[in-house]
Every structure is written in C-alpha cells, then in structure tokens.
Symmetry: C2
Subunit: 161 residues, 2 copies
C-alpha cells in the first residue's frame, strides 16, 4: 500500500531479525521467570542489584542509576515489592529510607538465578559462541556510546554516568 521500505533490503532484514530476536528472547526468559518463580523481569533486576551490593541495601537513587529506571517507576515498583515481602524500606540516619533485600527476596533470587543464567547461556551465549559474542559486546557498547553522545545536549538520559 505505502511504498516503503525506508531502509534498504539488507538493513531492513537485519533490523527485523534483531527485533524478533529481542522479543522472542525477552518473552521466553520472562515467561519462565514468571511461571517457575513468580518473579517479573523488573523484580529480578531489582533483586540482582540489591543482592550484588555489599550490604544488601541501597538508596533508591542508586537503584535508579543502576537500572536506568525513572524514579517514579522505581518508587511504584518498590512499594509493590515491599507489599510482597521481597524488600523492605528502612529508615536510617540520613532522611530518605534505604532499600534492603529481605530474607525472602534473597531466597527468591538465589533460587531462580541459576536457572535464569542457564537459559541465557543456552539461548544466547552458546548460540552466539565466543567470537561473535565478543563482537556483539563491542558493538553494543559503541551503540550505547553513540546514543549517549547524541543525547548529551537535549535529553536527560542518564546513560552517561
């Protein structure tokens, strides 16, 4: 109907393959995380960050930096996670609460992380293989860098931390 395409054929094909890979990988990983452990990708991301910190506790803005989430999204999600007992907001000397992972949260992530890692390995790492994976890593960083540079002026994207 409309003339398109606006990318030439090879580019178009690669781009669409990439998009499909993304969607497939994401939905597959998330589906299993949800089905087998009752965690969403978002829950997982928060728990990973907390569990990797020394003390198991972080300030909200640190999490915000680490995850690249908007602060309101983070705030909403943390209150939900607190209601489910995965984290706790606890007061400390400096005004603002610290976010602490609970026993339950720690147990949850320790349980699901190996399975998740295995899937990433099976469907991503191993399919790429070491060489192509290394190349991807490079390109990915270049792209993040390019976008970061491009946005320095006009958009408040915190990619350039």
């Amino acid at each position: 109907m409309s003339k398109g395409p606006w990318l030439d054929d090879d580019e178009q094909k690669a781009w669409r393959s990439y998009l499909l890979m993304n969607r497939t990988l994401e939905t597959h990983l998330e589906r299993h995380l949800q089905r087998d452990f009752g965690l969403s990708k978002s829950d997982f991301e928060i728990l990973v960050n907390l569990s990797e910190s020394e003390s198991g506790r972080m300030r909200a803005f640190e999490l915000s930096r680490a995850t690249q989430w908007e602060k309101s999204r983070l705030s909403h999600h943390l209150t939900r996670m607190e209601k489910r007992g995965l984290i706790r907001k606890e007061a400390c000397e400096s005004r603002y609460p610290e976010i602490a992972i609970t026993e339950e949260g720690l147990a949850a992530i320790k349980e699901c992380a190996p399975a998740q890692a295995a899937r990433v390995r099976e469907f991503f790492v191993d399919v790429f293989g070491p060489d192509r994976l290394a190349v991807l890593g490079e390109v990915a960083d270049e792209i993040v860098g390019t976008i970061g540079k491009h946005c320095e002026t006009d958009c408040p994207l915190e990619v350039r931390s």
Copy 2:
C-alpha cells in the same frame, strides 16, 4: 552479598552490554516517536503492518500473527487506536471485522517513518556496519530458531508460523 556471578565474566559482560543496548535503543527510538509524532512503538507496529498490506486492511488474527501479540492485547489496543482515529474496524461479508488504516493513520505513518528509519540507520545500522550487521542477522535468526525448536512441545509461542 550473594556470591554470583552465574555467568563467567566475559559472558556476563556481553550479556549486560546487550541488555543495555536494547534498553537504550528502545527508549531512544520510542521517546522520539512519541515526542515528535505522538505515536507509541505499538501504534507504529500496527500502522506499519497495515500500510504494508496491499489493501490497507487486515483481519485481526493476521495482525496478531504478524506482530506476535496476544489477541487480547491486540483487541484492546485496536479499540484505543480506533478511538484516536488511526484505524477503523469495518464489517465485511465474513463475520469478523476487518481492520482498516484510516487516512489519518496513513498520514501519521508516512510522516514519521522516514525519521524513524533515519534513526535506526544512524544508531544501529551504521554503527554495526555491513559486515557485523550481516553476522547479527544470522545469529538473530539462529536464536529465534533455537527458542522456537525448544518450545515446540511445551509452549504455545507462535514463533514457528
């Protein structure tokens, strides 16, 4: 705190670079689509599919196959888009309505597609370059294939159309 990592260092690094690239690219593209043209990524996807069809009209289940969306998501989104005048559900001989792109919808996508394509080229295609892009395309297809194969039995993922 928790011992991790569950992937070794190189794998971990590549995987995280990839995740960050995804997020960065996605939010960047979507932000501009939204800001400059008032369309979401979802709107765009539907409009692209409709505008690429011969007649500018498709059945809902065709769109569902093309986009890999769940039918309820599609249904909800189409009613929203209809309210905004981007598409129309029109009755035809066979029971079920056909989804038709409106003048307004066609105008919208014709306006934004070049800009969108330019961004994809600038931040994705050109950063990869032809060789690495070709490689990515191959790997992406392999990954989709692998997951599709793995899911044939237990999950109703429609990737294997």
